[in-house]
């Protein structure tokens, strides 16, 4: 009798291992769907139906697609050699460089644009050097400027995602490759290419989607109405024309584009992982030649220069402004930090059960939906029950978590799936309860991506202006809002100071979590 009971209990726990997570995943999925479709529905209901597209919307749609495709393509293509270089080389300061290179991704748009212009603009460093050499000057304004800026924002993300893919190839595979005497080409074909095919489409999709809703960057660097994006049309519809039907229509088009990109990526990136290893430090026998070493070094140096120079300019511009900051800015900084911490916790809890293929697709909706429509819809939903002013910070935290979700999922999903594929049978054989599985297997093995995802979420939430425009509270401004307010009041120097503070805080949060995830990890 006793053995039967044990067997039954084990079977029950096996079922629990499958059923309980499904329920949690379903709840998490419903929350995402509700938070994205709900606001669109509310806006549509209020508008009383779909609006018509305006003149120029076709052109805007075309431009939006082209720039997003280019930006995502260039980001991922450039990320490959850079990530490979970082995966193959060990050098002092490598960890710091990898962390620092992530900083552009978390800068508020306006700050990053001014930093880029300080380097590539009419009066920037590059043109200064070109003038000194007697060469013709470059201009940053045009579609190439838009792509340049988007690559600046997203290259770090692509590099980190690919680097993570490289580091997830177990050391034993490289050992085997070395003992089999695989040539460089064969090693690439057998180990690196399958990994790239698995990781790159997802990275491309998430960058494509984030570039779809680009607005201020595209406009400022695009040089004029040729560079109009759909998001600008939505902005115009909501803020100027109060044409909610048109805003709803445009945002649904945007959402459909994003989800199609996600579906394609899902189809393309469907390969399986490399199986489990023994978590040894990876030693690479390949790529030790002079050429390979110099190529890696060149890529790393170029990427570092491209990403760090504008950041340095943001820092220099902000130094003098730092002393001009009033108490209001420090209070705003406090709000931003607390919002970021709450968003991070929320986002990670949300992402864990959704770290599956379908979950990742669903998660894309969070960045695909126009922030303006999201904000307006939430306002319409919340308004009958509570005062939106009082909810400014909680709503910001919630929306930040939603918006960061696709990034967290992109980071977590490949490794979470690998852990499930590699250890599920063992867990079932051992009869692990869902909690024990989480505590003993999933979380420890996801430590590195979890730290990265949490860092990114914290930094994004610090920098994101999100939907706060309709939920603003005079006494609870966040730091990005403060930067805009300062600029709107001619306080350009103080704004630069506040931007630097924001950069420091965002980066600090990112570093703290990311570092926490990499303690004892050989990367």
């Amino acid at each position: 009798m006793a053995p039967r009971i044990v067997a039954l209990t084990a079977a029950g726990q096996g079922v629990a291992l499958i059923v309980a997570p499904r329920v949690v995943a379903l709840i998490a999925a419903l929350a995402v769907a509700g938070l994205t479709l709900g606001p669109v529905g509310a806006v549509l209901l209020r508008a009383g139906g779909w609006g018509a597209l305006g003149p120029g919307d076709g052109q805007a749609l075309r431009f939006t697609l082209v720039q997003a495709l280019l930006s995502a393509g260039v980001s991922v293509a450039l990320a490959m050699p850079v990530a490979r270089g970082l995966a193959r080389r060990r050098f002092p300061g490598r960890g710091a460089l990898v962390a620092l290179m992530g900083a552009p991704f978390i800068l508020p748009v306006i700050v990053a644009v001014l930093g880029l212009i300080a380097v590539f603009g009419q009066n920037g460093l590059v043109n200064g050097a070109l003038r000194a050499l007697g060469l013709p000057e470059m201009t940053i304004y045009g579609i190439h400027g838009v792509v340049l800026a988007h690559v600046f924002f997203n290259l770090p993300l692509a590099v980190r995602l690919l680097l993570q893919g490289w580091l997830a190839i177990p050391a034993e595979r490289f050992r085997l490759a070395a003992s089999l005497g695989l040539t460089r080409g064969a090693l690439f074909r057998v180990l690196e290419l399958p990994m790239l095919l698995r990781i790159a489409p997802g990275a491309f999709a998430v960058i494509f989607v984030i570039c779809l809703s680009s607005f201020a960057v595209a406009l400022t660097l695009g040089g004029g109405p040729k560079a109009t994006t759909v998001e600008l049309a939505i902005y115009q519809a909501v803020r100027f024309d109060f044409d909610l039907g048109r805003a709803a229509l445009l945002s649904v088009i945007q959402l459909a584009l994003a989800l199609s990109a996600g579906l394609v990526a899902l189809k393309l990136g469907a390969g399986s992982g490399f199986g489990a290893g023994l978590d040894r430090g990876v030693t690479r026998w390949d790529g030790q030649g002079v050429w390979a070493r110099s190529a890696d070094a060149l890529w790393i140096v170029l990427a570092a220069l491209f990403l760090l120079a504008p950041l340095l300019m943001v820092g220099l511009r902000g130094l003098t402004g730092l002393v001009l900051l009033g108490p209001g800015t420090w209070i705003a900084a406090g709000h931003s930090v607390s919002v970021a911490l709450v968003s991070t916790a929320l986002c990670i809890l949300w992402a864990l059960p959704l770290a599956t293929r379908r979950g990742e697709l669903l998660g894309l909706a969070g960045i695909a939906l126009s922030p303006l429509v999201l904000g307006t819809g939430l306002f319409l939903i919340v308004r009958p029950f509570a005062n939106p002013f009082a909810l400014a910070l909680p709503v910001t935290a919630l929306v930040n978590a939603l918006v960061s979700l696709p990034f967290a999922l992109r980071i977590l999903r490949p490794e979470a799936e690998a852990v499930r594929a590699d250890y599920r049978r063992l867990a079932q054989a051992l009869g692990l309860t869902p909690l024990a599985w989480l505590r003993l297997v999933l979380l420890p093995r996801l430590r590195r991506p979890l730290g990265f995802a949490a860092g990114l979420t914290a930094a994004l939430s610090m920098g994101d202006l999100g939907v706060i425009a309709l939920f603003a509270d005079p006494d609870r401004a966040t730091l990005p809002l403060q930067v805009y307010r300062l600029m709107g009041s001619y306080q350009m120097a103080a704004a630069a100071g506040a931007a630097l503070l924001l950069l420091i805080l965002s980066f600090g949060a990112f570093w703290m979590f990311d570092r926490g995830g990499r303690v004892n990890a050989d990367t």
């Binding site: 120029g56 406009l219 109405p225 109009t228 709107g488």
Partner: protein, 326 residues
Amino acid sequence: MKATIFAAGLLSASAALAETPVLTVYAGDSIVSEWGPGPRIEEMFEAQCNCDLQFKPGDLLPRLLLEGDRTEADIVFGLNTDVTRKARESGLFAPHNVDLSPLTLPIAWEDEIFLPYNYGHTAFIYNTERLPEPPASFDALLEAPDDLKIVIQDPRSSVSGLATVLWMQAVYGDKAEEAWEKLAPKILTVTKGWSESYGLFTDGEADMVMSYTTSPAYHIIAEGDRSKKAAIFPEGHYFMVELAAKVASTDQPELADQFMAFLLSEPFQEMIATGNWSIPAALPREKWPEGFQELELPEKVLFYSEDEAAALRDEAIEAWRRALSR
């Protein structure tokens, strides 16, 4: 016993709080911030009203239209003429009942609902050290060499951008699209809002920026810098005014009336010049702060009524978009 006294104290304190009437004012972000006029307006008005003035920042009209007559706003502060028509049609606003005779605007103003408190004009701002000889007229700007670089704002996302398009329309009429085409090679870029443009200009990225005739006053008064000037064109400059209105569903009608009257009072008018970096709407020039008296202002002022502007707006924006898309 102590607890009861404490509780009673709390009760009476909150009762006292509840007795202070609250005037809720929706205002733009830049007004409410610590560098805007908001804090001073609050201080000055609370000193005379025995009330609690609360600013609520954010998008003014979109939010009010979403809320309808259930809004908690008593006053809306900071509307522009490009939304007054939509605002008027909503029926959400009540007449201000303020005597308009003290107004010192360069145009006639007889609106019963929207009350102006400060104004300015569209203008291209330049740096005298970088551009010692700016174009002397709009025509001269169009004919200037293409290496003269200007930054403007998008009329679809910014108030000043829309004013620029209407300015061009008022100066060139049917020829506005051709004029935009001539200007196009000189336009370094178009930004989402005024802040981005002005930031680019102060960073030395462009020679001229589309801004307001009043911008130099900030540099003179706050920074002692006289190198930023507005290029004054004989063809005229477009008039930009900021307005306040009383919300019809207000639960504090007397306080709201008192606030509207306060807007044209001399103390408010003297404060608003440096508070909002704009020209007071009801104050003779000799009473303006010194930096403002130095300003070069246009003799000819152009302005479309809200109906004219509404009729012209879409076509003017389209002309701009077509010309700059080529």
